[in-house]
Symmetry: C2
Subunit: 198 residues, 2 copies
DNA sequence: CATCCTGGCTATGAGCATTAGCCAAGGCGT
DNA sequence: ACGCCTTGGCTAATGCTCATAGCCAGGATG
């Protein structure tokens, strides 16, 4: 037996790929072991449990989301940044539905939890988007949450019954961005250019 | 053995209660059988499989959501209706997180699927809310989806890491409603009364 | 060359969904 | 009132899963 050369990272990455193909519920140690050409108990040398595996996939996903967001927001601000952020999130979710699903339902243990840290990076990116809208500081957190709700909900609906949204998903998503943008402008007292409504 | 007097409905209701207590992932035939004072195979007399049970819980939940929405929207319109709808959804989600979670990820088979019908009722209620905002007809569907995304995302975040939102969840939710309301007013060309920003 | 850590394995057990097949309770027709 | 048959419970058994225990080879390290 030629020592297949696994380590925790390779196992987690393979698990993430499996999640994207089979859904997060389809991630089992048995399936993952088969994919890696290894017997199930072997995985316990790299991962503490199935739960631990899913948790690590969640960290991976959240970190990747943070990277994508940071890249997408380079040199943008205001409505531009908002659209870029939403679009980046959406692309990630569509490309990696299983990974993203792993993040929903994952909980962090403490303030030094890597998942918490990765999650904070994402939140900070969204905060940066909002900087251009002049949201009062004491409402920033609420607003960040509202945006997360939108994207999160979109992701979940996309995965669960997105198939029946037909071909106009892009249109729906663009519309959601418009709606959000106008809400943000309006709430900060700057309704934005009128007459741009089509 | 005194014929415990089960039927499909009682099993599904008990399953829904279990879902609210233990999460949708905690709904197993073994656990449900124990709760009903019955052995697991018995449940197959009332339900085709575990998947079928969860599906039926989803139908129950979607129907209940539809009822709550319909009740909440009696005699309301515009911003009032929007706030009432969001609030009703939220109350349901908080009171019955497991049931609601069953609806996310459930898929319908065809146009005569009871889940599809129940789901349509909900969509129609949201459509009624939007009637007061003057959204152009060809954008109605997109807007309905955007609202669903918000509520859906809120529900999921609430369940998954709501605990760390602290005590200001109500505030966040109200803020989300405000943001949505302003977006809707703005997009339909009616920015609404200014100076109401606190 | 001996030793030890690493990373694979087999064997095993517990819990789950699911199926097959049995059997009693009670309603219903005669 | 009697017998039948449907209904709704059961036990037994299968096969899947995660998970643990303990063995064993290979390579690095002294």
């Amino acid at each position: 037996m030629p020592k297949a050369g696994l380590n925790t990272e390779r196992v987690v990455v393979a698990g993430a790929e499996l999640a994207d193909e089979a859904g997060i519920a389809g991630v089992s140690l048995a399936a993952l072991a088969a994919r890696l050409g290894v017997k199930p108990p072997t995985l316990y040398k790299h991962v503490a449990s199935l739960q631990d595996l899913r948790y690590r996939i969640a960290i991976l996903a959240m970190t990747e989301v943070g990277d994508q967001l940071r890249d997408a927001l380079q040199g943008r601000s205001g409505s531009d940044a908002l659209a870029a952020a939403f679009t980046a999130m959406r692309h990630y979710i569509v490309a990696h539905p299983g990974r993203y699903a792993a993040t929903t339902g994952a909980r962090f243990a403490g303030p030094d939890d890597p998942l918490f840290i990765a999650s904070n990076r994402v939140v900070n990116s969204i905060r940066a988007v909002l900087a251009g809208y002049g949201i009062p500081g004491d409402r920033l957190d609420h607003t960040v949450r509202a945006l997360r709700c939108s994207v999160h909900g979109f992701a979940l609906l996309q995965v669960s019954d997105g198939f029946q949204w037909g071909n106009d998903q892009d249109e729906s998503f663009d519309w959601m961005i418009r709606l959000t943008d106008l809400g943000l402008r309006s709430i900060s007292g700057r309704p934005g250019p009128a007459g741009r409504q089509d």
